[in-house]
Assembly symmetry: D2
Amino acid sequence: MRADSDWGAPASYIPELARVDPAQFAISVVTADGRLHTAGNAETRFSVQSITKVFTLAIALGRSGDQLWQRVGREPSGLAFNSIIQLEQEQGRPRNPFINAGAIVTTDEVLSGRAPRDALAEIVQFIRTAAGSDDIHINEAVAASETAHGHRNFALAHFLASFDNLKNPPEMTLGTYFHHCALEMTTTQLAMAGRFLMGSPAGPGLLSTARVRRLNALMLTCGHYDGSGDFAYRVGIPGKSGVGGGILAIVPGQASIAVWSPGLNHYGNSLKGTEALAMLASRMNWSIF
Amino acid sequence: MRADSDWGAPASYIPELARVDPAQFAISVVTADGRLHTAGNAETRFSVQSITKVFTLAIALGRSGDQLWQRVGREPSGLAFNSIIQLEQEQGRPRNPFINAGAIVTTDEVLSGRAPRDALAEIVQFIRTAAGSDDIHINEAVAASETAHGHRNFALAHFLASFDNLKNPPEMTLGTYFHHCALEMTTTQLAMAGRFLMGSPAGPGLLSTARVRRLNALMLTCGHYDGSGDFAYRVGIPGKSGVGGGILAIVPGQASIAVWSPGLNHYGNSLKGTEALAMLASRMNWSIF
Amino acid sequence: MRADSDWGAPASYIPELARVDPAQFAISVVTADGRLHTAGNAETRFSVQSITKVFTLAIALGRSGDQLWQRVGREPSGLAFNSIIQLEQEQGRPRNPFINAGAIVTTDEVLSGRAPRDALAEIVQFIRTAAGSDDIHINEAVAASETAHGHRNFALAHFLASFDNLKNPPEMTLGTYFHHCALEMTTTQLAMAGRFLMGSPAGPGLLSTARVRRLNALMLTCGHYDGSGDFAYRVGIPGKSGVGGGILAIVPGQASIAVWSPGLNHYGNSLKGTEALAMLASRMNWSIF
Amino acid sequence: MRADSDWGAPASYIPELARVDPAQFAISVVTADGRLHTAGNAETRFSVQSITKVFTLAIALGRSGDQLWQRVGREPSGLAFNSIIQLEQEQGRPRNPFINAGAIVTTDEVLSGRAPRDALAEIVQFIRTAAGSDDIHINEAVAASETAHGHRNFALAHFLASFDNLKNPPEMTLGTYFHHCALEMTTTQLAMAGRFLMGSPAGPGLLSTARVRRLNALMLTCGHYDGSGDFAYRVGIPGKSGVGGGILAIVPGQASIAVWSPGLNHYGNSLKGTEALAMLASRMNWSIF
């Protein structure tokens, strides 16, 4: 991973992400025995973006249980993360909670009538507790920029509303959505926050084993948009990527891993992050299969 | 699972499958220590259909290696098993080897210039070796009926050919495809044949560990057509279903399971077979997540 | 057309349209010699809705000429009037100016930086001049209701904006759009307003003959959403329908016809209005073919 | 149209069409008074291809009447001429008789149990009678080449069969289809053959006025594939194009026009032929609008 390698290009749709230097890399691994291993810029904060969808899904399932699945499906989409095509073909029910439309629905479920600040407080507190750190914050400039450039997400939210699959006004749900996506974390904070998905005693015990397994199943089948099958094939463990270049990956019972490198591959997932995870999993003989 | 339960309806597109009594059930489990457990009609032969796609994929990868992926993808399809829509949208490259179009391509790769009988002999011998039984045969009546009613598959094959993604004449590749899908096995034979996917020393060691893991990854993300995400969520282990009502499921390192019940759910997967696997996995605490 | 006939159901998406009695009918015909013929409730005002898209297109072409076609196409859509699928597949360029997305673009072009009230004033004045009547007004309750229930149109507008195919803020363009769709006219006013599309000296001479012909061509190929081919086949003259149950139809050089009956067929076009036009065209031997 | 102009590229999918020199042009016009006007290579025979779909449709309507519309629609497709997507989405009913799938259905209807040679004899005789010339023949080399390279059409035919929308075996219907598409005519023969679509006494009176009008309506809305709206807008008269570079266009009551120039535009319609028709229609003030 020398300076002359191809690092991929960072997300370009908002200036805050576009101007990040792609030639950065960090990895943090927390093993089941509680030990932490890091390399690279592991104390640099980055925009976790879609990775928060795992945490909001955990909260939404905690609040609503299986009723949530009436509003959103559990199948891979076969299309880009922000596609609206299936939403029309399938009457406003997003395919899964990890594409944008589905995450807007889970955010809407977490919101459910409360003021956005209260829902956000719950989401942030959940992540801080999971990570064991209070030093995790929302980048307001990123949230504002997402709002200003978020026409595609506004389209998705209004489309959901046209099928009565939004309980709150689109602006309110999207405001909450843009803010939790704008959380910033270091890879170490993120790996710590993912411990509960190991399903081991080392985790904070926030969810039942059955629910943890189901979150991992969803990450495996849907966590990398239309590159999920490829990630499962090449890396072999559940993971969730964000457009900021982060990936949270879980080796059940063994490790919680966070990588970050801002350059993306053509699926919109971290290029070097994916390669690093494939290498690490292979060398450690980590695979769920 | 009493007589008054809803067993689902068997596949109806050919008489040979349509007239099977749906109120049948069998399960066979082979554990890593080589012990066999069975229940129900475990000695009844049924049409394994799409489950053979796992074996032909294993053979195709053995013959062609990663070059195969130039002709077929590794992503869930988000559409029905016999849909032709993505094939047009993605220039004749099927999304994965387990939807019909993809399995026609892997069959075409296994065929590669040989007489169909030679390719079929290799496929049947692979499965017999894996199962440790020579008493596994093709049902010619089923193969003939598939051919007679196979307009949708002929459409897929000609469509592939129109994009130069078929090396052999459509009739020849389809003849081979229809024949290996017409193999009949008992659940015990199928569970035995699946041992090599456990990746354990008890298996016949036909493939490397890395390749076994990748086959399991593909089964998990794509093995149940557009119900793959749901199966991963509810059952939590890799599996491949067939329209004859069979499912082969793998608990890596621990068990190879075959279930059979001819009634299907709306995805085209065995209704009772899926339920039985979910129950068994839960009680045995078997999950890859 | 007796009381016991099937009148179809009125549009149901806003209360103002849903509560209109479907068992109403009106027709007004203005011939090239300037004579007016009417039958039914020809002095009842109804919501013209999408029929205004013809007039806004005429204005947009007058302001921008053929540059408009960089933003919107001229092909039938093959999908419902409010579908968003092709908008994604074709990078935010609507197929034609008569589906919702296309009419939002032409409205945006008419608006082009002005205050909505100024653009609306131009649209209303154009129609009043064409009709030779100042007694044509916007129903503010309908406009407000469209805004309140317009999530699908908001989705389309934001989607257009995400592809940089909207010059004004979505709310501003949509406000203008909802208002001109909420114009109310009688069939007589509408038939009078359509005279300029006859291309005859009796018309107000607002447009060149070439442009008039092109507007008629667009009405023929795209004027009845995904029922345009059927209307051309059965009726044989250009027309533009509105979800309020009105249709403006043109016999070039001979007649401008307005019909109204609020019950719709499954394409969303007036059921009895279409039947009446087919009957009239047949009896009068009016056809462009 | 000098030597240095851009003539477009001829169809490339079979050698017989690909090797035609694109820098050729011919036009023949028959007016209602029976006079013939020609320019260019008006005695050169070219492959009329899809233009025969107009004649087979006329025959199919004569044999089956409106029952034909149960098997095929009358709406523009919004997709390429050989797309299979809508065929799956709309359960095997092609959108109109002028896209490939629809023309296979009308050919199947004309065939209806007879030997292909008998159906072909009827089609050829119909065209010869319409043209007033017996010197019109099928190019067997073109028909054979279409068969050899016709995987996309085989896919369409089998797909239709899978929905029970084919009465004859796919090979038989396609054999008939490929043969009538392989007819060769001069522009003069074609313009003569189109006279009956003028609806005037000069025509051979093969069809009723109502049916003639409906054929023209279908040509206008669907006759140029996904460029039909553009042709209606720019040229303003009904027409049907063929991939061999020919176009038959009709000015109802006034003229039957055939143009030919083998180079195609991106819709698959003759580039120079379309331009010539636009120019001619404009200069002659010919328009149906």
